[in-house]
């Protein structure tokens, strides 16, 4: 049913320039922005990692997961559980545990879901994420609907994560590392195979690729990277609750990827930053007389999403590359 989409995989000069400027702006931000906005940018960068992990499935492999937040939330919960009451836990033990936990969950759920296609995949990923949500929501022992608190950020030896600035640059470093890793992956044989699966899975299978294990590997890797984001989120906010793995979180991640532009990871970063900023603007709208404009942010967000899908389905990067030219938009052959 769904037609394979042609994505911007190689980034035109105009976008590379925008990305570089954006990175410099992020690196300089703590020197100019207030604490409030710096903390907001940290959250945005964490969500950008989360959105990139989803883009590996959604943009590259063509698997639309409506339950990606489950792995994000799980890793956060793992950190919350293993952090002792009155001391910090080492980053070097807690990070592998949290990311490994998320990857394991993605492996098990992925084993069940990647055998489904198209619309089934959407529904089934959503349903399993909901299952994970209810495991935590219904059990008082797991924090229940209120969630759990973390008293300490992980201890990383010489890197003092309790320091806001240090945490900011640590997150920025993670963002860059994940971006570099995924860009390399995109052009590796594995990445090319995933891209081939998006365009035509039958043909890939006919060429001798085991598409099931490729998709499962992508799903697990995406889960692990979402886990990294969830770990950072829990460390930053000092708090986890079931909403982190809820339906809205998953849908927001899809929105971020679409808003930026799919399939190149740069779009996911742009999308995550813009989406969070928009949310902030919508929630902060001034009242018009008696009408509480900011209270109804969901209305503006909803209308914005609808308008985006109708008018700019290729996202912000699509608009930039169309406006400023950029001949690098590769035509992918072989789709039907």
């Amino acid at each position: 049913m769904s037609t394979p989409q042609i994505h911007l995989e190689t980034l035109p000069r105009s976008i590379q320039l925008v990305m570089t400027l954006g990175f410099l702006a992020l690196a300089a931000f703590p020197f100019v922005g207030s604490d409030f906005y710096s903390a907001m940018v940290v959250r945005m960068m964490i969500l950008a990692i989360f959105a990139m992990s989803l883009d590996l499935l959604q943009g590259v492999t063509g698997l639309v997961s409506l339950g990606h937040a489950a792995y994000f939330g799980l890793a956060g919960y793992v950190l919350a559980f293993i952090t002792p009451q009155n001391e910090a836990i080492s980053l070097y033990t807690s990070l592998p545990l949290a990311v490994g936990g998320a990857a394991l969950a993605a492996l098990v759920i992925g084993f069940l879901v990647v055998r489904t296609h198209g619309i089934y995949f959407i529904m089934v990923t959503m349903a399993f994420a909901q299952m994970v949500f209810f495991i935590f929501f219904d059990n008082k022992a797991l924090g229940g609907s209120d969630g759990l608190f973390l008293n300490f950020r992980p201890d990383a030896g010489v890197i003092d994560l309790e320091n806001k600035q240090v945490f900011y640059y640590f997150t920025l470093g993670c963002l860059l590392a994940v971006y570099g890793f995924l860009r390399r992956l995109l052009w590796s044989p594995f990445g090319r195979a995933l891209s081939g699966i998006r365009v035509n899975e039958h043909r890939m299978r006919a060429l001798g690729f085991n598409t099931f294990s490729h998709k499962l590997a992508a799903f697990t890797l995406a889960g692990a990277l979402a886990g990294l984001a969830g770990y950072l989120w829990a460390a930053q906010s000092g708090f986890v609750n079931p909403e982190l793995m809820g339906f809205h979180m998953s849908a927001h991640a899809i929105m971020m990827v679409i808003l930026g532009g799919m399939g190149n990871f740069a779009g996911a970063i742009v999308g995550a930053l813009s989406f969070e900023y928009l949310l902030h603007i919508f929630k902060d709208l001034p009242d018009v007389g008696e009408f509480k404009t900011g209270k109804h942010w969901q209305m503006w967000m909803g209308l914005f999403i609808v308008a985006l899908i109708i008018f700019a389905p290729k996202g912000i990067l699509g608009v930039i590359s169309r406006t400023f030219g950029g001949s690098a938009e590769r035509k992918e052959s072989g789709h039907e």
């Binding site: 879901v113 089934y120 899809i254 909803g302 999403i305």
Partner: protein
């Protein structure tokens, strides 16, 4: 569990299953025939419940509220199909997911602006307020039986419409091969409008008759939507018969799970889904 308790739980699970079927049938039809994923389907359930609550207060009659409410929500559905959904039949599933997710937000806020954010109870109509005594201290409310009855009648009507009438024949033909059906001179756009309106109508009627039992509250659509997804996945997309059987199955597992295994009740339905997926990745009755 003694027999009377078992009977009560059985009736409850059938009633819940039939209610889920009303929603899942529309969801599966809209997907099977138009190829549209409608995340906002649960919003029509909510719309139905709120319409029943506010119309019953204004018109003074629950029956009248259901009639007027159904007409209103079907009209709303037709308008939405004409203005928005029609342009998304040929688009990617991803676009449909996002469009309908955006609509969930819009509908929730419209609900908040029109009806506020409070939880409301709707009294059971006097005629159906009685209970059937089963033992000295256990009884079963007539209204729940009435709910099951309404759902059964509508399910039967849906079956007859699709398998026995000329319109049903056209609907099936359109689902099977759109171009061929069009070239035979059948107005497929009209068929799509009818199916969409039918799905919306069933969802909002489900919301209306559920309102006195479940009460009327914000976000009531999301919860039920996810259950419907599970039902559609188990039953097989596009299959109304599959939706009925899956809905009853989910009703049984959920209701008895709450009684027998309360710690794991939220999970059991998903375990059922996982089991079905392992055995038949395309659902029990894939068309």
């Amino acid at each position: 569990m003694d027999f009377v308790n078992f009977l009560i739980q059985l009736l409850n699970s059938v009633q819940y299953g039939l209610l889920l079927f009303m929603l899942a049938a529309g969801l599966t039809l809209i997907f099977g025939i138009m190829g549209v994923v409608n995340l906002a389907h649960g919003s029509f359930y909510m719309l139905g419940a709120y319409l029943a609550w506010s119309l019953a207060a204004q018109l003074g009659s629950f029956t009248l509220a259901i009639v007027v409410g159904t007409a209103l929500s079907v009209g709303f559905g037709l308008l939405l199909e004409r203005l928005l959904f029609r342009y998304f039949y040929q688009r990617d599933h991803l676009d449909q997911v996002l469009l309908t997710f955006g609509l969930i937000y819009v509908f929730e806020e419209l609900r908040s602006m029109v009806w506020g954010d409070d939880v409301h109870g709707l009294p059971v109509p006097d005629l159906l307020a009685a209970s059937i005594p089963l033992t000295d201290n256990l009884s079963y409310p007539v209204y729940r039986l009435f709910m099951s009855g309404v759902c059964l009648v509508l399910a039967l009507g849906l079956y007859l419409l699709i398998s026995k009438t000329r319109l049903g024949m056209k609907i099936r033909a359109g689902a099977f091969n759109r171009e061929m059906t069009e070239s035979l001179g059948i107005n497929i756009r009209l068929i799509h409008s009818v199916v969409f309106a039918l799905g919306i109508g069933l969802a909002s009627i489900a919301g209306m008759i559920a309102a006195p039992v479940s009460s009327v509250y914000p976000n009531m659509g999301s919860q039920v939507l996810i259950m419907c997804f599970v039902v559609v996945v188990i039953g097989g997309i596009g299959s109304v018969r599959g939706a009925l059987i899956a809905a009853l199955l989910v009703g049984l597992v959920d209701t008895f799970g709450k009684v027998l295994l309360p710690q794991a009740s939220g999970m059991l339905v998903y375990v059922l889904m996982a089991a079905v997926l392992l055995y038949k990745p395309e659902g029990l009755f894939k068309q």
